[in-house]
């Protein structure tokens, strides 16, 4: 359970940092305001949707941290044989990274108000993301054809389950991304798309990060890393 604990510690740090700015030591019973001296809205506040997305990402992060924790705990048993990593996964990783980059590019274009480039960039992001999903399915089929079935070994079970859940999250993101793309191709101004594009980009970067960690996990590098940490500690 150490992975989820580290994740929770990170969340705790963020919450503490945020709370430290909230004047929690004030004495509200002594502070009565007078009519007229209430502050106006601050313009620098982040968009509500963005805060919503960050909170949601915290939930998704907890979910994958727990899955990884479970993976490590189950791995200690004797009947564990790691799954060989199909080379296709490298291609998929590149596709997802390209999608992330494309969204970053879209973000820049919406800021510059360039409609044509925004549309193209969105389409590129969409296409590469779909490519990633297709690649994942092909990788599954490749593994299954090689005899690595879901129930043969817990490592296989984890592989299919975790990549499946990650894929579901990408599909969910695709729904939003397609809507934004559709709007862009149906005459929406880039300035009006700025927020949705930015949200998509944040989500995509996050899912890419999750995928990279998962990839490292399945490839076994995460173990090496942990072994090094252990050696450093003892």
């Amino acid at each position: 359970m150490s992975v989820i604990l580290i994740f929770m510690a990170g969340i705790a740090v963020i919450i503490t940092w945020w709370m430290a700015q909230q004047r929690l030591t004030s004495k509200p019973w002594l502070e009565v305001g007078r009519a007229g001296d209430v502050p106006d809205g601050s313009s620098s506040a982040p968009a509500t949707e963005k805060i919503g997305l960050y909170v949601f990402l915290a939930v998704v992060g907890a979910l994958f941290s727990l899955l990884i924790s479970a993976y490590f705990m189950r791995m200690d048993t004797a009947d564990w044989w790691s799954v060989p990593i199909p080379n296709l996964l490298w291609v998929n990783t590149a596709a997802l990274a390209a999608s992330s980059v494309a969204l970053h590019w879209t973000k820049a274009e919406t800021r510059e108000n360039r409609g044509e480039a925004t549309r193209v960039a969105l389409l590129a992001a969409l296409a590469t993301a779909v490519l990633f999903l297709i690649g994942q399915v092909l990788a599954w089929r490749e593994l299954a054809a090689a005899g690595y079935l879901l129930t043969n070994n817990p490592a296989n079970s984890f592989f299919y389950m975790i990549t499946g859940l990650h894929g579901l999250h990408i599909i969910g993101g695709l729904a939003v991304l397609s809507r934004t793309t559709w709007k862009a191709w149906n005459g929406a101004e880039p300035s009006g798309l700025r927020l949705s594009v930015e949200l998509c980009a944040i989500y995509w970067h996050f899912m890419l990060l999750v995928w990279l960690i998962l990839f490292a996990l399945f490839a076994g590098w995460a173990n090496d890393f942990i072994d090094i940490c252990r050696q450093l500690l003892t």
């Binding site: 709370m19 509200p28 007078r34 809205g41 879901l150």
Partner: protein
């Protein structure tokens, strides 16, 4: 003169909202059924939770009947008894208490108490309810599925949960239970995002965090906890569903069942326990923190006194929330672990008792020399304190390993956890309903019926669970369908069992009075006016009662003070609403 600052990163909404910004329901369907108004969603959540809660209540009757009159009800065999225990426990904890506190009270109170027009993502909020309803329906469907509902105990420990020896294990029961939990969590996440982000982003001008009523602090912290804890149950449920349906071996060790070797091998039941309790322990506080918050406000309002130690109360809520994530393994002492970890978990568990005790002292100190009005909400709040302290004390017994060993898995434990996390939160829920019903409907609940309901429920609940401690001390085990040949109990134990069952039936029947009151007062209750309790918080200051769509009319309220200005010396009335500014000269802020 003290400056009023709003917290950093707070988007303060404009005082006036363009009419266009609000979502407007167009037909009866979108107004009352597929509504995106948090107030309607709150009522939908509450009614659904109460409905399924009644099922759990009837199940507890059936269990009690079997315990008092073993053999008299032939349809309650051992399997059925297990199914009843499981469904009763799961429904009460998750589908009733969690849903009612967060989905019900959270939806109704958050926007109104912080001066917002609605939740920030109304559409997701609506979906949240419909997914919850689906979860409840899936759960209820398992009563009618072949093989009946699961009988694995509310902890659903594998491997037994998916074996044929457990009711529902190889039938539909466990599948429906796990699917329902998964749906519940998805639905809750959509709602939970709303509750958290609304508190963060939609507070009206002047509503700093430290001016929020404790009700909001409790619901807010509990929601943050739930958002982070439910994923653990989600993962556990998905993995067990894989084991059961697809034949994987996440949790299932190699097993021989009735002479055949099952396809599973090497799985780790302990892994499930870690995941389950990573969720399960915070869950106790997810139910408790909203109750703590609400009870603080009830006590302050009905004792006409400011809450004692507001800051400490806020910190205690936050600290309890944080700590409860690192104590989960105290449920697994018997499952074996490294002694150093055992020590760690035992210590953190004891530390949690400190902020909890502080809260109890503060409630009592708030009451001390207050102008206590024994209204129904106050009676229920007092009942909460008594039951909670009682349950806390028996908890001290159980926290002690030497005492725990003979008592664990006896009726003593059943008595303990029903006191702290069964009866105590239910008391708060009743108190809260009596308190806010006038705002929700514009009418008071009938006082006589309320008094009858309160005294029977409170004394009756005591009569049910207090004697159970003695049964536990005599060694009567929990989760036993009948004592059978192992009778080592004196006949008096059996007498006590009959008494408890009779009281359980009486208490259950008293709820009919309550439900009748809810329906009767809707039409016939005394008109309440806007602020019948003369309370300070914003929900009582709405231009209309019940509040209409958008809550505040054209202008949002502006907050000038904290939520507890009761009996302020020198003030004209014994309460000053939060949206009333200080008099131009001589404000108390200037004096301080």
């Amino acid at each position: 003169m003290v400056e009023i600052q709003s917290g950093i990163g707070t988007a303060i909404p404009p005082a006036e909202t363009e009419d266009m910004e609000l979502y407007h329901p167009k037909s009866w369907w979108t107004k009352y059924v597929f509504s995106q108004d948090a107030k309607i969603i709150a009522i939908q959540y509450s009614l659904t939770a109460i409905a399924i809660g009644l099922v759990a209540l009837v199940l507890s009757w059936l269990m009690r009947l079997q315990l008092a009159f073993p053999g008299a009800f032939t349809f309650i065999d051992a399997e059925r008894y297990y199914q009843f225990i499981t469904m009763h426990g799961m429904i009460m904890v998750i589908y009733l208490l969690t849903a009612l506190f967060l989905g019900g009270f959270g939806n109704y109170l958050i926007p109104l108490m912080i001066g917002a027009r609605d939740m920030v993502f109304p559409y997701a909020n609506m979906l949240s309810y419909w997914v919850y309803l689906l979860a409840v329906l899936v759960l209820a469907a398992s009563f009618f599925a072949p093989g009946g509902p699961t009988g694995a105990g509310w902890t659903l420990y594998p491997p037994q949960a998916v074996l044929s020896g457990t009711p529902g294990g190889q039938d539909w029961g466990i599948i429906l239970m796990l699917s329902s939990l998964i749906l519940f969590i998805i639905g809750f996440t959509m709602g939970g995002l709303n509750y958290v982000v609304t508190v963060l982003q939609a507070r009206t001008r002047g509503m700093t965090l430290m001016r929020m009523p404790l009700t909001i602090w409790g619901i807010f912290t509990a929601t943050v906890m739930a958002l982070l804890a439910f994923p653990a149950l989600f993962v556990a449920a998905v993995m067990m569903l894989f084991d059961r349906v697809l034949g994987t071996s996440f949790f299932m060790p190699a097993l021989v069942e009735m002479g055949t070797l099952l396809p599973h091998q090497g799985g780790s039941p302990l892994l499930f326990q870690h995941l389950f309790w990573f969720f399960g322990h915070p869950e106790v506080y997810i139910v408790a923190l909203p109750a703590f918050g609400i009870v603080s406000d009830l006590i302050s309002t009905h004792a006409r006194k400011n809450i004692f130690g507001y800051r400490m109360m806020v910190w205690a809520i936050v600290i309890i929330g944080g700590l409860s994530f690192i104590v989960w393994a105290h449920h697994m002492y018997v499952s074996g672990m490294n002694p150093a970890f055992g020590f760690f978990f035992a210590t953190t568990t004891l530390i949690i008792a400190v902020p909890t005790a502080i809260k109890v002292y503060n409630w009592v100190l708030t009451l001390w020399r207050g102008d206590i009005h024994l209204t129904l909400p106050m009676l229920f709040a007092l009942a909460f304190i008594v039951t909670f302290v009682n349950g806390g004390l028996t908890g001290l017994f159980l926290g002690n390993v030497v005492v725990d060993v003979p008592l664990s898995d006896t009726m003593f434990v059943v008595a303990h956890f029903h006191m702290v996390m069964g009866i105590a939160p239910i008391m708060v829920i009743f108190g809260a309903i009596y308190h806010w019903y006038p705002k929700i409907t514009g009418r008071m609940l009938n006082e006589t019926m309320g008094q009858i309901h309160f005294w029977i429920t409170f004394l009756g609940a005591y009569a049910i669970f207090f004697p159970m401690h003695y049964l536990g001390l005599m060694g009567v085990p929990r989760r036993y369908h009948e004592m059978g040949e192992t009778i080592f109990n004196p006949p008096s134990a059996h007498m006590l069992n009959i008494f408890i069952t009779v009281m359980a039936l009486v208490v259950g029947a008293a709820q009919i009075v309550f439900l009748f009151n809810l329906a009767w007062s809707l039409r016939k209750g005394k008109p309440a006016g806007g602020n019948p309790w003369r309370a300070t918080t914003l929900e009582w200051q709405t231009p209309q009662t019940p509040p209409v769509h958008g809550n505040w009319g054209k202008e949002l309220p502006v907050v000038y003070r904290w939520a507890y200005d009761y009996s302020v010396p020198g003030a004209a009335e014994d309460f000053i609403p939060q949206n009333q500014p200080a008099p131009d000269r001589l404000s108390r802020g200037a004096l301080a």
